[in-house]
C-alpha cells in the first residue's frame, strides 16, 4: 500500500510543473564587458546577475552564454553568430551601444533567433521591419522629446545649441534633437559634433556662448560630459537649462562632480525612486550587493533577462514560439509596463515612458513627468556657484 501512495505522490509531483524540476533555458548575453563602455557594461552585467538570482527563485535555471563584444560591432556580430549557431541559444539579450545593437539586429533576422535589446537608443534599429528584434528601451527620439517637452513646460526657450559626440549614439541623438526642436518651434543656433578624446573644448564652447542659446543639448558619454561641463563653467555659459541625453549624464560618476553637475537635466529610462513594481526594491538590492547605485542600464538588462527567460521557459526553448510570445506578451516589472508594439514606423518597439532627472546636490532626482516627480525641478539654471 505504501508503494501505491509513494507512486501516486511521485506521479503527482512530476505532473505539477515547477515543483520538483526547474525549467532550464539557454540564453545568450552580449555585452561591453571590456572596452570604452565597460563602466556602463558593468551595470548591465550586474543587472543580469540579479535577474538570474530571481529567476532561480521562480524555478527557472538559466544557462547563460556570456560574450564580450568590447563595444565593437564586428565583435558583437561574431558573438551573436556563435551563440545562434554553435551554442544554439533560445534567445539573446544585449548588446550595449547603438552601433553593436544595430549590427546584430540584422543577424537576428538571418539566424531567426529572438533578440531583446535592453538599452541601445539609435532610432533606426527598430525602424527596419525586423521580425526577430525587440527593443525594451526608448529611442533617441524619445530622449529628445521628453527633454524638450519638459523644457517647454517649465519655460519658454526659443533657441538651442547642440553638442554631440560624433559616434552612432551622439549623431543619432543630435538628429533627433534637431527634428523635434523644429516641431516645437525652437531654433537650433549651433551644432557642434566633436571627436571624443580632446582635452580642450573651450574654443567650441565660447563659440556657443556667443550665440546665447536658451538651451544646451548635449549627447556624451561620461568622461566628455564631465569635461564639457567643467569647461562650460569656466567659459561661463548660462543657458536656461543644460539638457543631457542620458548616457554620461545619467551616471553617478557625473553626479558626484557637484561643482559642475548641479542642476543639469538628464533624460533617463529609469530611476531608483520611480514607482514601478519592484523598482525601489531592485535599487536597494543592487546597492547592497554591488556597493553602488544602479544606472538605468542595469534596470533594462534585468528586465530584459527576466522577460526573455520567462518567455523561453514557457515556450520550451523554441525560438519561433519565443518570438510569437514576445510579440503578443505583456509585462509589468521594474521598467513599468512593457509591450512590444508596431507604431509610427517602429516594429517591436516598447513604447517606454522616459523620465527626466535633475542632479540636485550630487543626487539624481526624478523631476518629470509630473506623476513621477520626487523633487521639483529647478528652472531656469541658477548660474554657477563661485
Amino acid at each position: 500500500m505504501y508503494k501505491k501512495i509513494a507512486a501516486t505522490a511521485l506521479i503527482l509531483g512530476l505532473a505539477i510543473p515547477g515543483i520538483s524540476q526547474a525549467a532550464k533555458v539557454k540564453i545568450g548575453f552580449v555585452n561591453s564587458i571590456t572596452g570604452p563602455e565597460a563602466p556602463i557594461g558593468e551595470n548591465l552585467s550586474n543587472g543580469v546577475t540579479l535577474a538570474l538570482e530571481d529567476l532561480k527563485k521562480r524555478g527557472i535555471e538559466v544557462d547563460l552564454v556570456k560574450e564580450d563584444d568590447t563595444g565593437k560591432p564586428e565583435k558583437s556580430m561574431a558573438a551573436f553568430e556563435k551563440m545562434a549557431t554553435r551554442d544554439k541559444v533560445s534567445g539573446v539579450v544585449g548588446p550595449y551601444t547603438s552601433a553593436t545593437a544595430n549590427a546584430v539586429a540584422k543577424l537576428a533576422e538571418k539566424y531567426k533567433t529572438p533578440l531583446l535589446i535592453p538599452v541601445a537608443s539609435k532610432d533606426e534599429i527598430t525602424r527596419q521591419h525586423l521580425k526577430w528584434t525587440y527593443r525594451l528601451s526608448a529611442t533617441t527620439y524619445d530622449y529628445a522629446t521628453i527633454l524638450l517637452d519638459m523644457a517647454t513646460s517649465l519655460g519658454k526657450p526659443k533657441t538651442m545649441a547642440i553638442i554631440n559626440e560624433n559616434t552612432d549614439f551622439g549623431t543619432s541623438g543630435a538628429k533627433s534633437a534637431k527634428a523635434y526642436a523644429a516641431k516645437k518651434g525652437i531654433i537650433v543656433v549651433a551644432e557642434e559634433s566633436y571627436a571624443k578624446g580632446s582635452p580642450d573644448y573651450r574654443g567650441t564652447l565660447s563659440k556657443i556662448k556667443s550665440k546665447n542659446p536658451d538651451l544646451v543639448f548635449m549627447v556624451s558619454y561620461v568622461a566628455d560630459a564631465i569635461l564639457l561641463m567643467r569647461q562650460s563653467r569656466e567659459i561661463g555659459i548660462t543657458p536656461q537649462a543644460f539638457l543631457g541625453a542620458g548616457a554620461g549624464f545619467a551616471t553617478v560618476a557625473f553626479a558626484k562632480e557637484q561643482d559642475i553637475s548641479n542642476n543639469v537635466f538628464s533624460s533617463t529610462q529609469w530611476t531608483g525612486d520611480v514607482n514601478w513594481p519592484g523598482a525601489r526594491d531592485f535599487d536597494k538590492r543592487y546597492k547592497a550587493k554591488f556597493g553602488k547605485e544602479p544606472s538605468y542600464h542595469a534596470a533594462t538588462a534585468y528586465e530584459s533577462m527576466i522577460i526573455m527567460a520567462e518567455t523561453a521557459a514557457k515556450a520550451g526553448g523554441d525560438r519561433e514560439k519565443i518570438r510569437a510570445a514576445l510579440k503578443s506578451g505583456k509585462w509589468n516589472g521594474i521598467m513599468g509596463e512593457v509591450k512590444f508594439l508596431d507604431y509610427e514606423g517602429y516594429t517591436n518597439q516598447n513604447h517606454h515612458q522616459m523620465l527626466v532627472e535633475q542632479i540636485q546636490n550630487g543626487v539624481h532626482q526624478t523631476v518629470y513627468p509630473p506623476k513621477y516627480v520626487s523633487k521639483k525641478p529647478v528652472y531656469p539654471f541658477p548660474g554657477w556657484k563661485k
Partner: protein, 389 residues
C-alpha cells in the same frame, strides 16, 4: 570580373622593359643576380606538387567541413594573409615601412559598400572601383611621402591615414560618419540568369578569400622572380646606390605602393562584404595599420610565406584568447584548477588580455626573432647544416 584578367596584366608588367635597362647598366653582370633574402633557386618539383595538393585540399575543404566557425576562422586568415602579403610588397621587398596601410584597406571597404548600399552597384564591380580608388590615392600619397626617408616616411604614412580616418568621420554625407555603413543584403551573383550564390552562407566568402590569397601569393612570387623585384630589393638595400645605378626611385617606389594598395583594398572590400559593417574606427585606424605590419613582421618580411605564417599565428591566437578558449583549455586539461585564484583570474581576464599578448609577442619577436618566425627557423636550420658539415 574574374581575377584572371588582372593576372595577365601583372605578368605583362614584369616581363619586358626592365630587362633592357638592367642589362645596359650592369654590363657583364649576370641578369639573375641575387640579392639577400631573394629565394631564387629554381622551384623543385616537390615544392610544386606540395603546393598544388594544399591548394586542392583548400578548395575541397568546405565540402567536408560543415562548421561555420571553422570557415569563419579560415576566412579571417585569408583576409589577414592578403593584408600582410600586400604590405609585404611595399614594406618587405621595397623597404618602405608604411604604418598607414589602413587607408587603402578602408578605401576598398568604403568604396565597395558605398556603391552597393547607396547606388545599388553590385560588389563585383564595386571591388574594381575600390581598387581604382586605392590606386589613385596611393599615387597621391606616394608623391607626398616618398620624398621622405625612414622614420619620417613612417610618420607621414601615419599622418595620411589619420587624415583619411578623421575625414571619413566628418564627411557624413558620403560615409555616414561614425554610424558607419551596415550592409543589408548582397545581391545574388548570377551568370546568364542562373544563380551561382546568394551569399547566404560563408562558403562563397571562403572561396573568394582563397582566390584572393592565391592572387596575392602569385603576385608576390612574380615580383620576387622578376626584374621588378630586383629593383624593389635594390631600393630596400640602399636607395642611393640604386639611384646611382639608374633605377628610378620614384617610378619603382610608386609601382610597389600601387600594387600594394590595390591588393590591400581587395582585402578591405572582402572584409566589408563579409562582416557587413564598417566604420572609420574599424577600417581606417592606426591599430589596423599596426596589425597589418605585425602580420608580416611576425612571419618574416620579404618572404612569400612570411605573411602566411604571420596570419596563421595571429588569427587563431587572437580568436582563442578572445573567446577564452585558452583559459578553458588550461582548466579542462587540469593544469589549472578552476577553483583556484589563478584559475579565476584566468577566466575573468585572459580574454581581455589578447592585446597584451599581441604586445608581448611583438616585443619578443623584435628582440629575439627580428626576421620573423620564418627567419628564425631558417637560421636554426642553417646552423644545423653548418654543424653537420
Amino acid at each position: 570580373m574574374t581575377p584572371t584578367g588582372g593576372i595577365s596584366a601583372l605578368t605583362k608588367l614584369f616581363s619586358t622593359k626592365p630587362q633592357k635597362i638592367i642589362s645596359n647598366l650592369l654590363i657583364g653582370a649576370d641578369t639573375t643576380m641575387k640579392f639577400p633574402l631573394n629565394n631564387n633557386k629554381g622551384i623543385s618539383s616537390l615544392a610544386v606538387i606540395t603546393s598544388l595538393v594544399i591548394i586542392a585540399l583548400l578548395f575541397m575543404l568546405p565540402n567536408y567541413v560543415q562548421s561555420t566557425y571553422a570557415l569563419h576562422i579560415m576566412i579571417l586568415i585569408f583576409i589577414n594573409i592578403v593584408m600582410g602579403s600586400s604590405w609585404n610588397i611595399l614594406g618587405g621587398y621595397t623597404g618602405q615601412y608604411s604604418v598607414g596601410h589602413s587607408a587603402y584597406f578602408g578605401v576598398g571597404a568604403y568604396t565597395t559598400l558605398i556603391l552597393m548600399q547607396f547606388r545599388q552597384i553590385p560588389p563585383w564591380y564595386g571591388v574594381w572601383a575600390g581598387m581604382l580608388a586605392a590606386l589613385v590615392i596611393a599615387l597621391i600619397i606616394g608623391s607626398i611621402c616618398f620624398r621622405l626617408r625612414g622614420p619620417y616616411f613612417v610618420l607621414a604614412s601615419i599622418a595620411v591615414a589619420e587624415i583619411f580616418r578623421v575625414s571619413a568621420l566628418n564627411l557624413k554625407d558620403i560615409t555616414n560618419g561614425a554610424e558607419g555603413i551596415l550592409t543589408t543584403e548582397i545581391p545574388p551573383f548570377t551568370i546568364n540568369g542562373t544563380v551561382i550564390t546568394d551569399f547566404a552562407s560563408k562558403v562563397p566568402f571562403y572561396y573568394t578569400g582563397l582566390v584572393f590569397v592565391l592572387i596575392v601569393i602569385l603576385a608576390t612570387w612574380l615580383i620576387q622572380h622578376s626584374k621588378l623585384g630586383y629593383f624593389f630589393q635594390a631600393i630596400r638595400e640602399d636607395q642611393d646606390a640604386a639611384h646611382s645605378l639608374g633605377i628610378s626611385l620614384t617610378l619603382y617606389k610608386n609601382t610597389a605602393l600601387g600594387i600594394s594598395a590595390i591588393l590591400t583594398s581587395l582585402a578591405g572590400s572582402l572584409y566589408a562584404l563579409y562582416v557587413g559593417f564598417i566604420d572609420p574606427t574599424t577600417v581606417l585606424s592606426l591599430e589596423l595599420s599596426v596589425s597589418i605590419v605585425l602580420i608580416c613582421i611576425i612571419g618574416g618580411i620579404g618572404t612569400i610565406f612570411g605573411p602566411i605564417i604571420g596570419a596563421l599565428v595571429l588569427v587563431p591566437l587572437s580568436e582563442a584568447l578572445r573567446s577564452n578558449m585558452v583559459g578553458e583549455a588550461l582548466i579542462s586539461s587540469g593544469l589549472v584548477s578552476a577553483e583556484s585564484k589563478f584559475g579565476n583570474f584566468l577566466t575573468e581576464n585572459l580574454s581581455h588580455a589578447h592585446v597584451l599578448i599581441y604586445g608581448i609577442l611583438v616585443v619578443v619577436v623584435i628582440l629575439f626573432m627580428p626576421d620573423g618566425v620564418l627567419g628564425f627557423f631558417r637560421a636554426l636550420s642553417a646552423k644545423k647544416h653548418k654543424e653537420t658539415v
